[in-house]
Subunit: 407 residues, 2 copies
C-alpha cells in the first residue's frame, strides 16, 4: 500500500547514466532531477506557483532551520510542510546533521578554501554516541539532536522523503577519525531506521547516507552498510575531496557500489559540470543552494555562447556592461524572465536594490536548472549525453575529465 | 486620432460619487480606481503577472527616481517604461516635483507629526523661477529639474499619463508663500503644457496639478487655472491640512470646482476611509505607497471583522498571536495568498526574514485595494456607497464624517 516506488533503466550499455521514475505520494519525479532548496520552508524570493511555472519537480527543506523556527510542532499543527508552504509536489527534508556540523566547525568548502569562520561563533558543543549538542544560531538556546529526534521532527514536518542523521565529518580529519565517525553514523543509521519503522504509515520513505570521506575502503564499507539496510534510497554525503577530480572519483567509486534498485542522491552538489559527471556515474538526484543563491547576488546561469567571459557559467548582471543591454539573459530561454525582461532592466533592479531583481533572476536560474535536467534526460534516452554536455559546459572544462564520461 | 478619452456618469442624483471609464493606449481603467506605486519601475517584491492576478488596472512610476537611476535615456533606449518593466497596462508618471520637495524639506506627513528628517541630508538646494536645483540622493550629483525637463523626461519614459511640474509647498508655510508658490506653479504649468504640446504625438496625455494649500480662495484660483488650460486630467496635490477633517474639506472644495469632464486624481492618498471620502466627492483615481509599504513591514489590510484589535484596519502578522493561527489573513478573501497560506506561515516568513513574506503580503494588500475599489464601483452603481463603507471601515470611524457622504 506504499505510494513510493523507483523504476529505472539504462538506455545505453556503454554508460552508467540512467533514466528513472521516482514515485511519491505527492507526485512523480522524472530522474535525473534537481532538487531546489527551500531551507526555511520557502524558496527564497519566489512562490511555489513561480517554481512550477519554471518547471520544478522537487524541493527540499532543512530540519535544522525548521526545528528552531517555527518548530516542528507548529508545522505539524498547520498540517505539515506541504500545506504550510503551499507546495503540493514531491518534497524531501534532510536530517539536520549537515547544518549542525557545518555551522559547528565550518563548511567543507570553507575548509578547502582555507577560510576561517570569522566572527561566527561555533555552535556545535559536543558529539556523543547519543547525538549532537548545539546552540541555536537564532537565540543561543541549547538543543540536542539524536537520530530518533531527527526522525521524529521529520515525521512532524511531513515531507515525502526523509534522511537518517549522520555525522558529517569535516575535511581536515584523519582516516582514523573518519573510520570511528563512520561506525557511529552506521549505529545512528540503524537507530534512525528503527525510529522510522516504529511510526511508518507509508506516507514517508527513508534515505540512508554514505559517509567515508575520500577513503575508498571506507566508502565501500558505507555502501555495504546502506545496501544491507531496508532504506528506500541512498544519499552520498560527507567530504568528497579537495578538488573536482577527487570528487568525481569518490562519487564514481561510491555510486558503482550502491544497490541500483534504489534512487541515489548526491548531497549538496549543483554545478553544471558536476551534474554531468554525476549523471554519468548513475546519480539520480542532486540538490544545491547554488542556483538560487547565485541569483540573489545577481548571477544568472547561462550556456557558454551567452557568457560575457569565455568559460564563465554565469553572467554577473551587476556588471556595467549590462546597463544598456536590451537582450534577455539568454535569447533562446523560454523562462518567464527571459520572455519579458532585458539584462538592462535586471541590472537596474539590482542597482536600485529592488527585491524583484532577486525574484526574476532566481526564476531564470530555476528554469535553467530544470531545462538542463530535461536536456540531460533526453540525451540519456538518445545515448548522446557527452554531446549534450557540449551545449552546457565551456570547452576548456573538458579535457581533464572526459574519461569519466561514456557516450 | 487620440487613444485617450474619459467618460463618466453619476448614478445617484444625491451624490457626487461617479463611475468613469478612462481610456488609454494601454487599456481601459474603470474608475474609481487605485494606482499602485512602482516607484523605481518595479512594484516592490511582486511581478507584473502577480499584480494582474491580484486585479490591478493601473500603476505609476516616479520621474525623480528614474531620472537618477537608470536615467530616462536608458529607459527610452530599452523601448520605454512599459516594455522595460513588463507592464502593458495603463501607466502614469509623476513630475518628480513631489520627491524633490518632500525629500528636500521633509514630507507633509513628517511635518504634521512633528518628525525631523533626522540624519537624512537636505537635498533641495534652490527653487527659482527656472526650476528646482537638487542633489541626487544616490551620489550627491547636482541636478536641475525645470518644467520642460520634467516633461522631456516623462516623454522619454513613455507612460500613458504624465504630470506637470509644480512646487509642492510644505505644510508650515504661510498664505503669502503659498500664493507666490501657486503663481509660480501656474507659470510652470503653462511651460509644462507648451513643452508637452511641442512633441505631442497622441501617445501621452497631460494632467495639471491643483495646489493652494488649505486656503479656499487659493484652491479656487488653482481650479480656475487648470480648468482654463487644455489638460486631459487634473491631480489634487499639495498640503491638504493638519487632520482628516481638514483634508476632506480641502478635497471637497477643490473637487467640486474642477471641470467634471476631466478625470480627477487625488495625489498620495490611499487610506480606506480616505478613499470612501474622496469617492463621495467625485475623485476618480487615488495613489499611495501605503498598501505595498505596509505589507513589507508585515501589515496585512483587513476589513473590520478580521482585525485583531477593534478599529484596526490591518493585522500585524509579526504579532505572536499569529504564530499558530491556521487561518488566512481574511477567510473570505479570494487572493492567491489567502487561498493558500495561513497567518502562521506568513508570521514564520517574517520571523525568518524570508523575502517571500513581503511578496505574499503585498499580493494580499494589492488584491484588497482592488477588491475595495471594485466594491466601491458596484455600490456607486447601486446607490449604496454609504452602506458599502460599513463593510470596510470600522464603526467608530463613522460619526464625525458622515456629513460628507451621500448615499
Amino acid at each position: 500500500m506504499s505510494d513510493f516506488s523507483f523504476s529505472y533503466h539504462y538506455p545505453s550499455s556503454k554508460s552508467r547514466a540512467r533514466l528513472g521514475q521516482l514515485q511519491t505520494p505527492h507526485g512523480l519525479v522524472e530522474t535525473p532531477a534537481f532538487i531546489f532548496c527551500a531551507t526555511k520552508a520557502a524558496i527564497k524570493a519566489v512562490t511555489p506557483d513561480q517554481m512550477r511555472a519554471c518547471g520544478t519537480q522537487f524541493i527540499l527543506s532543512n530540519t535544522y532551520h525548521l526545528m528552531l523556527q517555527p518548530g516542528a510542532e507548529v508545522v505539524a499543527k498547520m498540517g505539515g510542510l506541504h500545506r504550510f508552504m503551499g507546495w503540493n509536489g514531491p518534497m524531501l527534508t534532510d536530517s539536520g546533521g549537515f547544518q549542525i556540523f557545518s555551522l559547528g566547525h565550518g563548511s567543507v568548502a570553507a575548509e578547502i578554501k582555507g577560510k576561517r569562520m570569522g566572527t561566527r561563533p561555533k555552535t556545535l558543543l559536543k558529539i556523543t554516541e547519543e547525538g549532537a549538542q548545539f546552540k541555536s544560531y537564532l537565540d543561543g538556546s541549547m538543543h540536542v539532536l539524536t537520530p530518533e529526534k531527527s526522525i521524529e521532527i521529520q515525521r512532524l514536518l511531513g515531507p515525502d522523503l526523509v534522511v537518517v542523521l549522520d555525522e558529517c565529518t569535516p575535511f581536515h580529519v584523519d582516516k582514523a577519525y573518519t573510520q570511528r565517525s563512520l561506525d557511529m553514523s552506521h549505529r545512528w543509521g540503524v537507530r534512525s531506521l528503527q525510529e522510522f519503522q516504529r511510526h511508518d504509515d507509508g506516507r514517508q520513505s527513508l534515505y540512508g547516507i554514505i559517509q567515508g570521506g575520500v577513503y575508498e575502503d571506507l566508502r565501500r564499507e558505507a555502501c555495504d552498510f546502506v545496501n544491507s539496510q531496508p532504506f528506500f534510497g541512498h544519499a552520498i554525503g560527507g567530504s568528497l575531496g579537495a578538488n573536482k577530480q577527487q570528487m568525481y572519483d569518490v562519487v564514481a567509486m561510491t555510486a558503482q557500489r550502491l544497490d541500483p534498485n534504489r534512487p541515489i542522491h548526491l548531497l549538496g552538489i549543483g554545478g553544471v559540470r558536476d551534474i554531468f559527471e554525476g549523471v554519468a556515474q548513475g546519480i539520480d538526484t542532486f540538490d544545491c543552494v547554488h542556483p538560487t543563491r547565485l541569483a540573489r547576488h545577481g548571477g544568472a546561469l547561462v550556456r557558454p555562447p551567452h557568457a560575457l567571459k569565455e568559460g564563465a557559467d554565469h553572467i554577473n548582471l551587476r556588471n556595467s556592461s549590462c546597463r544598456e543591454d536590451p537582450n534577455p539573459i539568454e535569447p533562446d530561454c523560454p523562462c518567464p524572465t527571459c520572455q519579458t525582461y532585458s539584462r538592462a532592466y535586471l541590472h537596474h533592479l539590482l542597482k536600485a536594490q529592488e527585491l524583484l531583481g532577486m525574484t526574476l533572476i532566481t526564476m531564470h536560474n530555476v528554469a535553467f536548472m530544470n531545462r538542463l535536467l530535461t536536456a540531460i534526460r533526453a540525451s540519456i534516452a538518445e545515448g548522446r549525453l557527452n554531446k549534450e554536455r557540449k551545449n552546457w559546459v565551456a570547452e576548456d572544462d573538458f579535457s581533464e575529465l572526459s574519461q569519466n564520461l561514456a557516450a
